[in-house]
Amino acid sequence: MLASIIQNLFNAFQWGSFYSLIALGYTLVYGVLRLINFAHGDIFMVGAYIAFFIATAILGMAASLPGWMVLAMVIPLTMILTAVVGVSLERIAYRPLRRKGAHRLYVVITALMCGLVLENGNLALLGASRKSFPELVDKVVYTVGDLSMTNLKIGVVFSAILVFIFLHFIVTKTKIGMAMRAISYDKFAVPLMGIPIDTVIVFTFILGSSFAGLAGLLFALSYPILDPYMGAMIGWKAFIAAVVGGIGDIRGAFLGGFLLGFVEILVVAVFPSTYRDLIAFAILMTILCIKPTGMFGVAGTTKI
């Protein structure tokens, strides 16, 4: 009994890590731009596909390379290319709208549409056949008593924690992080102070998208079947996790992702698996009804 609980906890940590990594990207963009980037889940999907193509290309050119070396090449390349996709979205779709001073909701609709273009364009170009990701890492299973841990699970959880620490450091300790917080505080006064607002926003998109790409790669390593709609559901759920944590706050997104992972895995452990979405969302709605601005959210005041 106890062993199965702890086993489920490990699974929940892994599952929550994916949510956290994606929710961090949502939160970064939202915190700076007040924009819900609904295409983020699909950027995660694009990251998984980019990782797949790079990995197969490298393995095709040099099949004798050991797996860890291939992985060491795939990780930075995937992150860079996914960041390019995210930044080009910002350049093509969001920036012109922002320049025009369009209503915030129109940018959100554009983001939704970009997500649809990404997933259906992927389906149309690559076909509906599911790609299976090559196995780069030899599975090592650590067993302690009745508990089993794979090296992949540990890697996923550690990378999520490392990304969180890295982002927290950037946002709180560096100059560019200060600029991000300044933009979210007052978008009109910041350019007057000589802060290059576009550079900061592009940097935000680079951060968010590259970590979405990393999440895609890790997801493809853990569950090696790729399909074009894999990002849609995870994206929505990660967004909900970010909001429950208090959107715009890095700690909130991180904890919210883990909370959602825990809730889902524990629901599946106790109830039939079809109840997963139902109970998870019901719990999240209850949390939002009790704390309307999320766990770390600050209640805004309105001047009249």
Binding site: L116, V117, I240, C289
Partner: protein, 358 residues
């Protein structure tokens, strides 16, 4: 005379379309396109109450549609047909003709009650958090339906065609087409009356400034409750019609994608413009259906010009690439939608000569 122009026009349109369908001058495909137009008009204009007039960002409209569709279908199948699950018909099937609008309204009422699920949290929460609550409500409704095994669960639910056959056995006219048109006009009429009344001015006040509206004695909580319930109730009616047009419903067809379609129609037409939502629903349906023919035609043309490799053919998947791209471009060049915040009579003031609106 000016009072009667619009009703006579609508009556004429309805009469002509129903007569032509009855005589089979219009084939079934065009009939179904007209019906989907009607359903989309109901969806977009009802969604416009919350998103356009009240200025909230809700995106879970398809969930309420699902509630209406399921409740209406189950009630109809229980009452008028012999079903394996629900047993024999409770009422003689001849009564289906008279009771069908009432069962639709029952579905609408159920959807309105489901709308309370979203309305009550909306008293305290604002934009993005409300968006979450509506998305979560959509997911919750869909998974609830999937988990009820008696109404088919994830396999879907059918048997609505029998109800339609029972109706045409009594009087042989295209009933479902008639009801779609009647409910579409009724919806537009109700929403028009609602947003031009003093009561409806309250929700427009909420959009402008909620705190100020509260101070000026607008009961914001009550307004939100009414707006959400009206919006979701009308969506439920649209769902009931949709279920009977297709004759088969599946919980996954009311997912986020359907909600996205509703959002697209509202923003394409313009927030807070009723004629905008009607026009955009019509255009959107026409675009969806015309792409069915344009894509194969493009495929042939591009193969003919050797732009594509022989092994690759343009499939219908491209439909959902082209439509979002069109919308992205529209947002770039005309972000306020087709009509913006104006009605047809604001764009063409001379129209006011021909009708009067009380």
């Amino acid at each position: 005379m000016r009072k009667l122009t619009v009703p006579t026009l609508l009556l004429a349109i309805t009469g002509v379309i129903v007569f032509m369908s009855h005589q089979e001058y219009i084939d079934l495909y065009i009939q179904s396109v007209i019906m989907f137009m009607g359903v989309n008009i109901i969806l977009s204009s009802s969604f416009n109450i919350v998103n356009g007039y009240m200025g909230e960002f809700a995106c879970g409209h398809a969930g309420f549609m699902a509630v209406g569709a399921y409740v209406t279908s189950v009630v109809n199948v229980m009452l008028f047909t012999d079903d394996k699950v629900f047993g024999a018909a409770l009422l003689p099937p001849e009564t289906a003709v008279y009771l069908f609008p009432f069962t639709l309204l029952i579905g609408g009422a159920a959807a309105a009650v489901a709308g309370v699920l979203v309305a009550i949290p909306s008293f305290k929460t604002r934009d993005d958090y409300l968006a979450i609550i509506t998305i979560a409500a959509n997911f919750i409704i869909i998974s609830t339906i999937i988990n009820i095994d008696k109404i088919g669960g994830a396999r879907g639910f059918m048997g609505m065609k029998k109800v339609l056959f029972a109706m045409t056995d009594s009087y042989d006219i295209p009933w479902i087409l008639l009801w779609v048109m009647i409910f579409t006009f009724g919806t537009v009429f109700i929403i028009r009356r609602y947003v031009t009344s003093t009561y409806g001015k309250g929700i427009i006040a909420i959009k402008q400034d909620e705190v100020a509206a509260e101070i000026m004695s607008v009961n914001t909580n009550r307004m939100k409750l009414v707006a959400f319930m009206l919006s979701s109730g009308l969506a439920g009616i649209a769902g009931g019609l949709f279920a009977h047009i297709l004759g088969y419903i599946n919980p996954n067809s009311f997912g986020i994608l359907k909600s996205t379609e509703c959002l697209v129609m509202v923003y394409l037409g313009g927030m807070g413009s009723l004629s905008g939502s009607v026009i955009s629903a019509i255009l959107f349906t026409l675009l969806l259906e015309s792409l069915r023919f344009i894509i194969p035609w493009m495929d042939t043309a591009m193969h003919y010009m050797h732009l594509l490799p022989d092994s690759y053919e343009l499939s219908q998947v491209w439909k959902w690439v082209i439509i979002p791209l069109i919308l992205i471009l529209l947002m770039q060049f005309r972000p306020e939608g087709i009509m913006g915040n104006r009605e047809l009579s604001d764009v063409f003031p001379k129209l006011k000569k021909f009708y009067s609106f009380k």
